[in-house]
């Protein structure tokens, strides 16, 4: 039945020969290996996957599918995050109340919980992916550069978590970011309480002060307030996702260019 309905005179076949279908899909209904390959090559979404996979690539016991899951969770976070942006306002006046409303009043406010849990999950899957890659030796040449890209992605994932943590604007958020930003203040050279901060000076004019150091740049002030909330919001919703996507493109592209997914030797 399945074969026949896709046969020469079936509805799908007629549909695939219309100009609209041909303009969009180029390759008709695939009937042989070459056409199946062409479909993968001619579709922007499908071409993210290789045309052929080695058998071990779909063995969950070997890959744990953690890279794929990380990407999937990232997509979930993108979708739920965009939905949350319609509601949440990053100001001292509204932020906490909006989160409370999402929790208790807003229809589909569960998006916030999905976003939160997915964020936790992404950190876990990214670590497990890294662990798997390490344990299978997949970081070795020719994949050593992609390992480095992966480390950047790990750091960016952490920064996404960190910036997102402030947005609920509750006590936990404010004090966690107080602690985190105070650590930035201890950065060597560019943090006021860090080693070597007094070296960057011209005569007795010190360039690194509590209102011109790494901590200040991070939170836009000397204390966690309106400026920090806005800064973290913009970084969380626009800045970091933009950078993380660039690195993800490189990461996925390099998998293919470095000889496909690694396998057991």
């Amino acid at each position: 039945m399945g074969e026949n309905s896709a046969g020469k005179n079936g509805f799908l076949d007629k549909l695939s020969r219309t100009q609209v279908a041909k303009a969009i899909f180029r390759t008709g209904i695939p009937r042989d290996r070459r056409q199946r390959m062409m479909i993968m090559l001619n579709n922007v979404f499908l071409h993210l996957h290789p045309v052929r996979l080695p058998k071990h690539a779909v063995r969950v016991k070997y890959t744990w599918c953690m890279g794929g899951l990380s990407f999937f969770v990232f997509l979930v976070l993108t979708v739920t995050g965009i939905l949350l942006m319609f509601y949440y306002r990053p100001t001292v006046e509204y932020a906490y109340g909006d989160i409370m409303d999402l929790k208790e009043q807003v229809p589909l406010g569960i998006m916030r919980e999905i976003h939160r849990w997915s964020a936790h999950l992404m950190v876990i899957t990214v670590w497990l992916h890294m662990f798997r890659v390490f344990m299978t030796g997949s970081y070795k040449p020719p994949r050593e550069f992609n390992w480095a890209v992966g480390v950047v992605l790990l750091v960016l994932t952490m920064l996404m978590s960190f910036t997102g943590y402030l947005l609920p604007w509750d006590q936990l958020a404010i004090w966690a970011i107080t602690v985190g930003s105070n650590m930035a203040g201890a950065t060597p050279m560019v943090g006021t309480s860090g080693p070597g901060s007094s070296l960057l000076a011209l005569g007795d004019v010190n360039f690194i002060t509590s209102s011109s150091d790494a901590r200040f740049a991070m939170i836009g002030g000397r204390f966690i307030g309106e400026a920090a909330l806005l800064r973290f919001y913009v970084l969380h919703c626009i800045g970091l996702p933009f950078i993380i996507m660039i690195f993800m493109i490189i990461h996925f592209w390099r998998i293919r260019k470095d000889g496909g997914i690694s396998g057991p030797t």
């Binding site: 004090w175 107080t178 602690v179 105070n182 650590m183």
Partner: protein, 92 residues
């Protein structure tokens, strides 16, 4: 504001570990930081948790009307011996 051994002084409640706000716990007779558990005696001296040094004290004076004036722009650090400075406390 604390009073101990005939002296009144103003402690800065910014934890010397990473900047959270230690709370005064009456039952335990100590300041306790909620973030990582640093503990400080009533004097501001650290005795438990990760805090590397005592709480700072502010400049404190009595004005002509007998009111206590705290100047939060001047800080006194115990480890620099600044708590001996007469501007860091008032005697009663």
């Amino acid at each position: 504001m604390a009073r101990d051994a005939g002296k009144i002084y103003a402690l800065s409640t910014v934890c010397t570990h990473l900047g959270c706000t230690p709370n005064w716990l009456e039952s335990d007779n100590k300041f306790k930081c909620p973030c990582h558990g640093s503990g400080f005696y009533k004097t501001g001296i650290n005795f438990e948790g990760p805090a590397p040094r005592p709480l700072e004290r502010f400049k404190i004076t009595l004005d002509d009307d007998g009111e206590i004036v705290v100047d939060k722009t001047r800080k006194f650090q115990q480890e620099k011996g600044e708590w001996r400075d007469p501007e860091s406390y008032i005697t009663v």
